[in-house]
Symmetry: C2
Subunit: 187 residues, 2 copies
DNA sequence: ATTTTTGTAGAGTGATCAGTCAGTTAATTA
DNA sequence: TAATTAACTGACTGATCACTCTACAAAAAT
């Protein structure tokens, strides 16, 4: 594991627990097992570290989603996989998922370049456009669909995280929620 | 306007723009037009101010929602009103709405007492329980429904805020999204 | 009329923290 | 091997900031 990744990993843990503000760089360095100076060798500022962590986590999520997407042709199936894989990832990486939300509602978001933000929605946007072209979706604005799907994923995640369920119940809930979502936006 | 409200209002403006961290108490006092000491006369600590602002904003939202709820009997209609009024408030008070999210994804949330958090969901929980008792809803877990409705509201809000629409288009979108939501969770 | 409480001010303080710097060690290149 | 660069250290600093303190004015209570 690269040292910069060790630092990012330490930052994630502390940011999620204490927030950006409540986490001094000195604590991050200590948690990562490196000196204060080393942290600033890899990341010029604390803000840069914060943004780098966001990009890193987002890439991780996108990579996890891309796997089955590339192997699947049928649009509706890809849609299902996108939803199911998102939920799966969000539960297995709930700290990372929390950090994404936390970051999203902070002024740090404005430090991320437009291109980077765009790059990160390509997967979703592409699939949605295909679905629209194939006339599979209800005639709703694309941005609205993105928002609704995104928040549906978030809502389900939040519920599943709190409710301690057996794997079978969990799978059942995911399937149901997915079905609800599909009937909501598919024709 | 009470001086404590002036301070809260100043804090809201700055917190939303610069975040908790990026907003020194001195700037809040200056924005509110009071001295540094006065701020701490009304709020013992910055954390207390932060929490007080959250409670204040949430009460405001709940009051806005309660108005039509009390005058309406039919459960489905009350559900519609709750949804429509939430969206309306979130657009008219988008800074307050943003602050709620921001607060939600910060460690400050843990500073709010359980009773206060409970008090703030009573309106929603009550309506939902009535709907369940009247067997109007699909047999889904209450917490899941709450999460789904909440995130649906958030998703629609986010979309409407970005898309600059005419009042008629806006109303249309709200109606459509509401219809989608109703078919999703009502029998 | 006098005491007490409350509201307001703003300079001051101690602690914290992001980021620097001077210097050491390890790795790469010439 | 020598020279150059990169990785790394940790003490240090300048600035910032939450909060205090003393002082005073206005209002309320007695």
């Amino acid at each position: 594991m690269e040292k910069s990744e060790v630092i990012l990993s330490a930052a994630l843990k502390l940011f999620v627990e204490y927030g950006f503000h409540g986490t001094p760089t000195s604590k991050i360095a200590a948690e990562a097992g490196v000196s204060n100076g080393t942290l600033f060798h890899y990341f010029k500022t604390k803000d840069e570290l914060t943004v780098a962590l966001y990009v890193h986590v987002k890439n991780d999520l996108n990579n996890a989603l891309a796997l089955r997407q590339q192997k699947t042709k049928d649009i509706r199936t890809r849609f299902k996989y996108l939803f199911a894989d998102s939920i799966k990832w969000s539960l297995q990486n709930y700290k990372e998922f929390y950090y994404i939300q936390q970051f999203h509602f902070s002024p740090h978001l404005s430090l991320v370049s437009k291109e980077e933000l765009e790059r990160q929605t390509q997967l979703h946007l592409g699939l949605l456009q295909e679905a629209i072209d194939a006339k599979l979706l209800k005639p709703l604005p694309v941005e609205l669909i993105i928002q609704l799907v995104g928040s549906q994923i978030y809502g389900l995640h939040q519920y599943l995280l709190e409710a301690k369920l057996t794997p079978a119940e969990l799978q059942n809930n995911v399937d149901e929620a997915l079905e609800l979502l599909l009937t909501m936006i598919f024709i």
